[in-house]
């Protein structure tokens, strides 16, 4: 048994961490957060040059041919660094095509997605919180019409993987019949928009099982993102406790705060194992795949949100200000928690999938 990251995986995480530290340190994250686009083209280009656009794209289409576990590890590291931009949605769209695309579709899109030449996103949510494939209503066909909400980086994307009624997926390229209305999300480094389709040309992507599979991958990646986010929030709170002084000592001396920080750590640390196994199950244990994905998304995004609240409190008044970086990760946790459905939705799914 070796339930641990390989040397290659550790190198991947280190490389990304180093790249983020150099190219997008907290000061730069802050600039993007306070800016208007939630995107840093140069940083994105750098990520693509590192090969992160094609982690799960097969090698014959210009990718690294890795697995969802690798994508999840990369996601965790990027989230820890507060990386802005479309990584999550782009990777998920590429994964959808890699998993279910026809040869023609793969050939057409995957090399460009892997290289970063094209940017893709996923369009799942319909009105009133209908996120799950079973709930989608948008009619499939060669021309599709309707609205999809909370589409990440909708303004930037060249291609959308769009969920359709009956739990199908379609490929829709930006252009004819496609318009986007962007809005400011609470997470200002990952903007979203509503995708409006008006007889937009579409191609069916994959078979009936694909959408559910992509949803499971999305759960895993959101869990990984939330885990990295929570780790950062914890570390910020701990670091602050070691620096800030009150009554002549650093506040980490106060047992009450020390214990709160310990409780925060206990809440999140072991969850690394949960998202790892959910990713591993996605790749290798089909019977556990959907269930652990749901469990990981529910559990870790809930923990990250609470850790955000705790981290704000641990910072005292300063934690509540716009200037304090805590809010950046706090709001990242808000998105990870709500996107694709709140934790109670996925707990209910996990219970069903457990056969209870």
């Amino acid at each position: 048994m070796n339930f641990d990251t390989s040397e290659e995986q550790e190198l991947l995480q280190e490389t990304i961490a180093q790249f983020v530290a150099n190219e997008c340190p907290a000061t730069r994250v802050r600039e993007i957060f306070d800016g208007d686009t939630g995107h840093d083209p140069a940083f994105w280009k750098g990520l693509m040059e590192l090969g992160l656009g094609g982690l799960v794209v097969p090698e014959r289409f210009g990718g690294a041919g890795l697995e969802v576990i690798d994508l999840a590890l990369a996601t965790e590291t990027l989230a820890y660094g507060g990386a802005p931009g479309p990584f999550f949605a782009h990777s998920l769209a590429a994964l959808a095509i890699a998993l279910g695309g026809s040869d023609a579709q793969c050939e057409r899109w995957l090399p460009r997605l892997a290289s970063g030449e094209a940017l893709a996103s996923v369009a799942f949510a319909e009105a009133d919180g209908c996120w799950q494939p079973e709930e989608w209503q948008l009619a499939p066909g060669l021309k599709v019409s309707g609205a999809k909400h909370f589409v990440p980086s909708a303004e930037l994307a060249d291609l959308f993987v769009v969920g359709t009624a009956g739990g199908g997926l379609a490929l829709v390229a930006a252009g004819e019949g496609v318009s986007v209305e962007a809005y400011e999300g609470v997470d200002r480094v990952r903007r979203m928009g509503t995708l409006r389709l008006d007889a937009a040309p579409a191609e069916v992507l994959g078979d009936a099982a694909l959408a559910a599979r992509v949803r499971d991958a999305a759960c895993v990646l959101l869990a990984a993102d939330a885990f990295g986010t929570a780790q950062r929030l914890l570390d910020m709170a701990v670091d602050y406790a070691k620096q800030r002084e009150q009554f002549g000592v650093t506040i980490g001396h106060f047992q009450a705060l020390k214990h709160q920080l310990a409780d925060m750590a206990v809440e999140i640390e072991p969850a690394r194992g949960l998202y790892w196994y959910a990713a591993h199950a996605f790749d290798h244990v089909p019977e556990d795949s959907a269930r652990y994905a749901a469990l990981a998304k529910a559990h870790i995004s809930e923990r990250a949100m609470q850790l955000g609240r705790d981290a704000v409190e641990a910072h005292g008044g300063i934690g509540f200000t716009w200037e304090c970086d805590v809010q950046i990760w706090f709001k990242r946790a808000m998105l990870d928690r709500a996107w694709l459905g709140t934790p109670d939705v996925h707990r209910a799914r996990a219970a069903d999938l457990a056969g209870w």
């Binding site: 209305e181 809005y183 400011e184 509540f320 716009w322 709500a338 459905g341």
Partner: protein
């Protein structure tokens, strides 16, 4: 136990109702009344209400109040009727709530005459300068310096977490004036004009986008030598003077009660799988669990009000009001975030078509984040727990706090 007020107060309520019907008819003015007209009318109304003894009951007549005997029942009746008719209550500013009681108890006669009437009339607006970056609950580490140069204090330093600083005419603040005296003993309570070159106010934006707080930078700011309340070095003591009137120190559960009613409405309005969320058994359980806390707090507060009126000991629960409210606010906020679902991803301050659909949810999202601010504003929860543990339960003082305060 009795929620009526007894016959002796029925007359009082009747008179008050008559007064309100006459002077604040039907919720105030007519349609299309301008803001300025409304403000002026409210000021006129307040002056009449003071004249009649309904407002500023705890402030002597000579300083602009109505100088009435403290009576918690009358205070409660006034609060109820003013609330019912939406009549303008006492101005809520920190000047009235904190500075006026301090001046009345510890100020020089000329200070009372100069500052109290103008403050209670709303002509002088105040802000408070206690907190500093790096000294939250630890006043002993206060660093803003006041130096007597000729007949003026020259003040240098920085204050933070100041509300309404931009509009304020004056600040009451704590400065270290006796540099050689340790800890609390070297601090004085000064009144400082805000509209002067040495005072710079910079808004502090909050994580929910609001800007209720400010930083104040003091660079050779000046104030007359005799604008000091109490003696030099007594500032810490003076700052602890608090409102001792009929409404003071009593648990008030209105905030949590209103917030709870709000989240019930949100649950009715929100759909889950096509049906109102409030029909979901789990949501019902959570609401009822929160209501247990809310109603406990509500009736516990009524009990405290009743006991305060009769001069009875409030018991340890009186140290807990802030933390109880904070806890309830936090639970309500968390439930609201679950109810909001997708709308929890949209910036509450966002513009645009999709943002329009937010409607009421927008305020819930702000509230979700604001519940964190509340936890922090009244002193962080941990400070509250110290107070409860030490004053409420009689447990020993904190080692570090004790060492630092020198007590």
């Amino acid at each position: 136990m009795d929620f009526s007020y007894g016959p002796e107060y029925d007359d009082f309520r009747g008179e008050l109702k008559g007064f309100l019907a006459e002077h604040w008819p039907a919720g105030g003015g007519g349609e299309g009344e301008s803001w300025e007209d409304m403000v002026e009318r409210a000021a006129r109304f307040r002056a009449q209400a003071v004249e009649q003894g309904y407002l500023l009951r705890w402030v002597p007549r000579q300083y602009g109040g109505s100088e009435q005997e403290p009576d918690a029942v009358k205070a409660a009746i006034i609060r109820e009727e003013f609330h019912r008719t939406r009549a303008p209550d006492e101005p809520r500013g920190i000047g009235l709530m904190m500075l006026v009681p301090t001046l009345l108890e510890r100020g020089e006669e000329w200070q009372k005459e100069k500052f109290v009437p103008a403050t209670v009339a709303g002509d002088y607006k105040w802000c408070q300068g206690y907190s500093e970056p790096g000294s939250g609950s630890d006043l002993a580490s206060l660093r803003t310096r006041g130096e007597l140069v000729g007949d003026e204090w020259v003040i240098n330093g920085q204050k933070i977490w100041t509300t309404n600083a931009i509009d304020a005419d004056y600040m009451f603040c704590l400065c270290r004036t006796e540099p050689d005296v340790p800890k609390h003993a070297g601090i004085s309570y000064l009144l400082v004009p805000m509209k002067q070159p040495g005072v710079e106010v910079r808004p502090l934006k909050q994580m929910n986008g609001g800007q209720e707080f400010n930083e104040i930078f003091l660079t050779d700011a000046r104030t007359p030598a005799d604008w000091i309340v109490g003696k030099r070095g007594e500032g810490w003591l003076v700052s602890r003077t608090t409102l001792k009137h009929e409404r003071a120190g009593i648990g008030n559960a209105l905030g949590p009660v209103n917030a709870f009613q709000g989240v019930v409405q949100l649950a009715k309005k929100t759909l889950r799988a096509g049906r109102p969320a409030i029909e979901d058994p789990e949501v019902r359980q959570r609401l009822a669990a929160i209501e247990g806390y809310v109603r406990s707090h509500e009736y516990s507060s009524h009990r405290q009000t009743s006991r305060a009126f009769r001069g009875k000991d409030l018991g340890r629960v009186s140290t807990m009001s802030k933390l109880i409210s904070t806890n309830i606010g936090s639970e309500i906020a968390k439930l609201s975030l679950d109810l909001l679902g997708d709308e929890g991803m949209i910036d509450p301050l966002a513009q645009g078509e999709s943002a329009e659909s937010l409607g009421a949810s927008r305020s819930w999202l702000t509230q979700y984040m604001f519940s964190l601010g509340i936890a922090i504003a009244g002193g962080t929860a941990n400070i509250q727990r110290n107070v409860i543990g030490e004053r409420g339960l009689g447990l020993p003082r904190d080692y570090y706090a004790q060492r630092s305060s020198g007590k």
